[in-house]
């Protein structure tokens, strides 16, 4: 069983809660692997149609637990063995994943939020690309996602200046999908996740696949894969339901297949 996270499936939503509140949910190797395993479980579970990653207590995730870091540490190996596989698991996930950023997301905690499809922030939450302050570079896919989200110039600012980004600033930068007040945060996150979970899950997975293809394929090959994805989507029950509902002027009830 997991010790550093909580994993619970409820109403088609998998809640993955980083659960080291006294350490501001800082990463230790075990947590990297428990997150990866939980994501794999969510990916295989047909009942799961949306995943929410959030933090217990007042922080989202403060990044690497510095008590695990010593002079002997091979930082490259830590990324290859622990962070890389976790981030890759998120990349491979063909279901929607939401970062519910309840508090500070620093360092690799920021990277974790960046790797998700949506970032819902509490007004009290903030980001900080803290790596520069200890002479390191943003890792765990951070620069890859960050530069896509805000462009190279802003990514450089955020990474080299290492300044705190408030929720309001994050919204302006496109680093937050929504910002909610602290007291409404839980309710709003639940409502948002529920809305996502009721959408045609397979189509969402195929959209994510397409967005990955955009980065890796030449245009003609991309069009080829697009045709394949639309063929797959066209075979889903949700597509049939969508058309039926439209014809009958009612709201569709998607089942995610």
């Amino acid at each position: 069983m997991s010790e550093t996270i909580q994993y619970e499936v409820k109403d088609s939503i998998a809640w993955l809660t980083l659960n080291r509140p006294d350490k501001l949910n800082a990463f230790v190797a075990q947590m990297n692997h428990e997150i990866k395993d939980a994501l794999r479980m969510a990916s295989k579970d047909d009942n799961v149609r949306c995943i929410v990653v959030t933090g217990a207590g007042r922080a989202f995730c403060s990044g690497q637990d510095l008590s695990e870091v010593d002079e002997q540490m091979d930082h490259g190996q830590v990324l290859r063995d622990h962070y890389g596989p976790m981030i890759l698991e998120i990349k491979k996930l063909e279901k929607p994943i939401i970062a519910a950023v309840n508090g500070v997301a620093a360092g690799a905690g920021f990277s974790l939020a960046l790797a998700c499809d949506f970032r819902l922030m509490s007004e009290k939450a903030s980001y900080i690309n803290a790596f520069i302050h200890v002479g390191l570079i943003p890792d765990s896919g951070n620069l890859f996602y960050l530069s896509q989200l805000v462009g190279t110039a802003k990514a450089a600012e955020i990474s080299i200046l290492g300044e705190k980004i408030t929720a309001t600033q994050a919204l302006d930068l496109g680093l937050a999908t929504k910002v909610y007040s602290q007291e409404d945060f839980e309710v709003e996150v639940k409502a948002f996740a529920k809305g996502i979970a009721m959408k045609p899950t397979k189509a969402i997975g195929l959209i994510k696949r397409g967005l990955n293809d955009v980065q890796t394929l030449p245009f003609e090959e991309y069009l080829q894969r697009e045709a394949e994805s639309q063929r797959i989507a066209g075979l889903t029950e949700d597509h049939v339901e969508g058309i039926e509902a439209f014809k009958n002027k009612r709201s569709p009830e998607f089942i995610g297949k």
């Binding site: 894969r225 394949e228 994805s229 797959i232």
Partner: protein, 258 residues
């Protein structure tokens, strides 16, 4: 149709399909199964209803390799006498096009079988590997030879030495895979491709395969002479007359494979 133990065969619209069918063992290849695959290939090669052969795996993987338990206790002399690779040697003698459509894992003997195909389609994310080295041995059914001829010495020796997994995208860059398709549509896309080849004049397809394979083994001059003979040979076919006649008459040709 013959009942097989470890494979299934079927014919649909001129496409003869061979499905590896040991899904619980991830289609790991035992000797009997290789014999069956060869038998099915030969039967399709003789079957006039079949123009294209499609090779696929049932379940989670195309094939995770050879049946290790079957080999673990072998010694050199028993292997020499068993001559198990004689079956493998006959696969290149199949004249009809063989299209492989692979997914999941394509390891060891499974990879070697995939390399026996003329055209290879892979589901996105398919993992390939030659892990033999990690068991203290090496590929024995053409792996070191076919892979090297396809990708060149540098990459071949790296992959064969490390036994590491190679993702389909990477192999496509080296020309091992013709097309990568969505996993959900592997069969459908494979049939679409097979249909395209099945609609072509079969004798031309056959002579092209024969000539292209010679390009791998022959020096250029000999290969050119060989190609020329096959080119001349096709002028004895009805399909050549039909094809050129139709071109002149600006209509669609109808090919009979004669």
């Amino acid at each position: 149709m013959t009942a097989y133990k470890f494979i299934e065969t079927s014919v649909d619209q001129q496409i003869g399909m061979i499905e590896l069918n040991r899904p619980k063992q991830l289609n790991s290849l035992n000797r009997y199964m290789v014999g069956e695959i060869l038998e099915a290939l030969q039967a399709f090669d003789r079957n006039e209803e079949v123009r294209v052969i499609l090779l696929v795996g049932k379940g989670k993987a195309f094939s995770a390799g050879a049946d290790i338990e079957e080999m673990a206790g072998a010694d050199s002399m028993s292997l020499e006498l068993l001559n198990q690779f004689a079956d493998w040697d006959q696969i290149p003698l199949i004249k009809k096009p063989i299209i492989g459509a692979v997914h999941g894992f394509v390891f060891g003997g499974g990879f070697e079988l995939a390399l026996c195909c003329d055209v290879l389609l892979a589901a996105d994310g398919t993992e390939f590997a030659f892990p033999e080295v990690t068991l203290g041995v090496m590929p024995g059914a053409g792996g070191t030879q076919r892979l090297t001829k396809l990708v060149g010495r540098a990459k071949a020796i790296e992959w064969l030495w490390t036994g590491e997994r190679i993702i389909a995208n990477e192999l496509q860059k080296y020309g091992v895979i013709n097309r990568i398709v969505s996993p959900e549509l592997l069969r459908e896309e494979a049939f679409r491709f097979a249909n395209k080849i099945a609609s072509m004049p079969p004798l031309a397809i056959r002579m092209i395969k024969d000539s292209v394979n010679k390009a791998v083994d022959y020096p250029l001059y000999e290969g050119m002479q060989y190609e020329r003979k096959n080119f001349y040979l096709l002028f004895s076919s009805e399909d050549q007359k039909e094809g050129m006649q139709a071109f002149v008459e600006k209509r669609k040709p109808v090919y009979k494979g004669k």
